[in-house]
Amino acid sequence: MSHEIDITGLSKSFGQGAAAFQALKEIDLTITSGEFFTLLGPSGCGKTTLLRIIAGFELPSTGTVRINGRDVTSLGPSKRPVNTVFQSYALFPHMSLSENIGFGLKMLGKPKAEIRATVDEMLQLVRLEAMADRRPSEISGGQQQRVALARALAPRPRVLLLDEPLSALDLKLRKEMQSELKRLQSETGITFVFVTHDQEEALTMSDRIAVMSAGQILQLGAPQEIYNTPVNRFVADFIGDTNFLKLRVKAVDAGMAVLELPGGKAAQASLPDGMRPATGALVTAVIRPEQAEATGADEGDLHATVESATFFGTDTHLHLTLADAQGFVLRRQNRPGQPVPAPQSRLGLALAPGALRVLED
């Protein structure tokens, strides 16, 4: 696997002096050829800024950007083998779909016959052959999105940058386009750098995800890795739902801690690398809502009182209170005939082995 994009020591500040705002802080990042790479983070964390620097619309304050080994930091967007799918699509309103898709090749000075062949191929790829001569204003939002994609793919860039390309679409179309994007990416083998603030979208589509917050990359890894072993509280909170419990340490041994649970029982929890809390210290432990199971009232590791239940179709969320008044959400898959526990009823919780993890705050 070769390096497609190498970003080293990248910072970006907007404004001068005291009013300066650091949008990106010392980012180091390597994106591999042919991968579906996602930048995920809350609004304002610097995703678009990073993408604009990769595309060449913005100069970094410090650091370098290399594409396929070549330093492109000071090159303009027209000199980089990178194309962008804009959030607003930015289709040229006075051109037909064919002309839109062929624009990049025309600017590269390709012969007419080659442009026509590629445009036809792209139209077929995004399934819009029948609409080649329409204007962008004469097609639907989802179709416009596909044209934007085809236009960016037509010059065969090494890298395709996509800034929240699905955020304007309704849920159903969004799901369709998600699989369409995955299909296009595997068919073309082009490296995708995809920006989203939707964690579910990131988890389902990506080969790797970089979770960003306040101009920094907090964690970088495969979706399973980020979901199962978040490195800190922010990542755990941002990706999926999580129960945070304040628990006391009873013993520590080789990357594992024994924690005292509300109600008096004990459970093993993994410790993050390099963390060795003292016996008796209070630590934050996390467990996903689906990684515990309801048991009889006097069985299990924890005892809880039901506060309320929320029905979600495939599953039900039970909002519980533990013996020491900490809250806990349990996600239980729905089965036919299974009764929903009444408020104030009591139940036990069995934690899945390995599910409890200590996190640094």
Partner: protein, 268 residues
Amino acid sequence: MARSRFSITRLPGFGLIAVLTFVMLYLPIIILVVFSFNAGVSQSRWDGFSLQWYQAAFNNAQVRDVSLRSLWLAVTAASIATMLATLAALGTTRVGRFPGQTMIYALINQPLMVPEIVTGIALLIFVAAIKVQTGYTGMGYLVAAHTAFCIPFAYLPIRARLETLDNALEAAAADLYASPIQAFRYITLPLMVPGILAGFMLGFVISLDTVVITEFVKSAGQDTLPTYMLGQLRRTVTPEMNAIATLFLALSLIVVTAFFLITRTRGR
């Protein structure tokens, strides 16, 4: 609910004021047009239908002369003004903010703020001085004065058009390997065309229409249609003047209608 909402149409006297306003706006013009078809010379007594005054106007060499001069001047001044206004609009919208931007906006729009008679007198003095110095008495003065006067009228629709254009379009062109010149040639310029056409037509109508500026700047034998008509009216008024005015009105209506049709489709 809807009944209790304030509605200006239910105020006392609304209908009367509306009718009076429209009567004031259009009745004089309708009378002017009607009497251009009068068989007699009267402006108040109908003597039957005739096209004789139109015939007279068409056969009047002087009318033909000043009409052609008016058209030539309007096309020339509006063309130059549109070119300059296009550059000005690009220079005030497609750049980062710079100090004095608002100032420049105000300066470009001088003719909208300075009373026309003041501009006219200033031009009279200024042009007279140049005429004495150079001896040149050609159409150049009128072209220059009309051009300057037309610039803001051309500038406003072009600027408005540019402001509605998504900056991301030019970014997308650059992303697709277009040089700055290519991005302008293939993206910005074609999308500006409706604004440019609208600007040209507004400038054209303004130049065709202006009396004051022309009156003060023109040399002997440089009458335009409006100044010629003004001169004729000082003598006798025959329905020939009605016929000329009606034709002039028709031309203006055609241009203004075209302007509306073009600006209406600008969203596309």
